[in-house]
Symmetry: C2
Subunit: 157 residues, 2 copies
């Protein structure tokens, strides 16, 4: 469970935490039933405020990824292996949703759009350190505190 945050990356710390924990679950490093590090432990290890950790944990609970019991450490929720995959696809779809609007707005055909996506993926197939990933420029898939509106790129519903 290696977690690294970069306060200067432009990506909110609590979101970096969420992303990395989600990633660790998705890749099996964190299994259902495992306990997450305590807020204070992570806090001193990463040099961030416990509340920031707690905020990340709260959102993870809201996303049904983690289970909260008062006074006890958080544990990874029991989800079937398949469910984890589904969750990843779901994440992807959320990230993709605004783009679907753009496609229609630009009047592109589905094929053109799909092909562009495939090419883009291929071109970025650089094997760069899979671990964490604090990146995620501006258009976040979701899992934010807001979620409400305001997005980047092009607008959306």
């Amino acid at each position: 469970m290696l977690i690294v945050v970069d306060p200067h990356s432009g990506v909110p710390v609590y979101r970096q935490l969420m992303d990395q924990i989600k990633f660790h679950i998705a890749s099996g490093i964190l299994k259902p039933g495992d306990e997450l590090p305590s807020t204070r432990a992570l806090s001193s290890e990463l040099g961030v405020n416990p509340m920031t950790i707690s905020k990340a944990y709260s959102f993870l609970e809201r996303d049904d990824i983690v289970e909260r019991r008062p006074g006890r450490p958080l544990v990874v929720k029991a989800v079937g292996g398949g469910a984890i995959r589904d969750r990843r696809i779901e994440e992807l779809r959320k990230s993709l949703a605004p783009t679907a609007t753009v496609v229609k707005q630009l009047g592109l055909t589905d094929e053109e759009a799909v092909r562009a996506f495939a090419e883009l993926l291929e071109s970025t197939r650089e094997p760069r350190d899979g671990g964490d990933a604090d990146n995620e420029p501006d258009n976040e898939p979701n899992s934010g505190p807001d979620d409400g509106a305001a997005d980047e790129e092009v607008s959306r519903a």
Copy 2:
């Protein structure tokens, strides 16, 4: 050239302007050489500050979409017909870029990601009423039966 902005959409006004102007260029309503409405004209028409219009114009210039001459209206930059299509693809790629990161982050394969995208596009394809079927409350350039042929081009001065 119908432009509508919704200050409550959560999407910054200047970005709504950019998106709609880009869209009008992509769809041919605005052609290279056309002049854009003056900042003050658009300002009073939309009820926003001229500076907000100017900000949108500035970004459009930064994106090489429009040309600025001091004291003169902005004009759509001369891009070849083919370039317009490329520009749309380019827009799409920009919208897609963050998602490419997410894909890697989630450890999904290209195929899975591409398929999810294709499915998403298909699912948003309204079966009835061909056209655009678009769900896009806030930012939608040419929606509405009005417009007809009334205003277009940019002249308006």
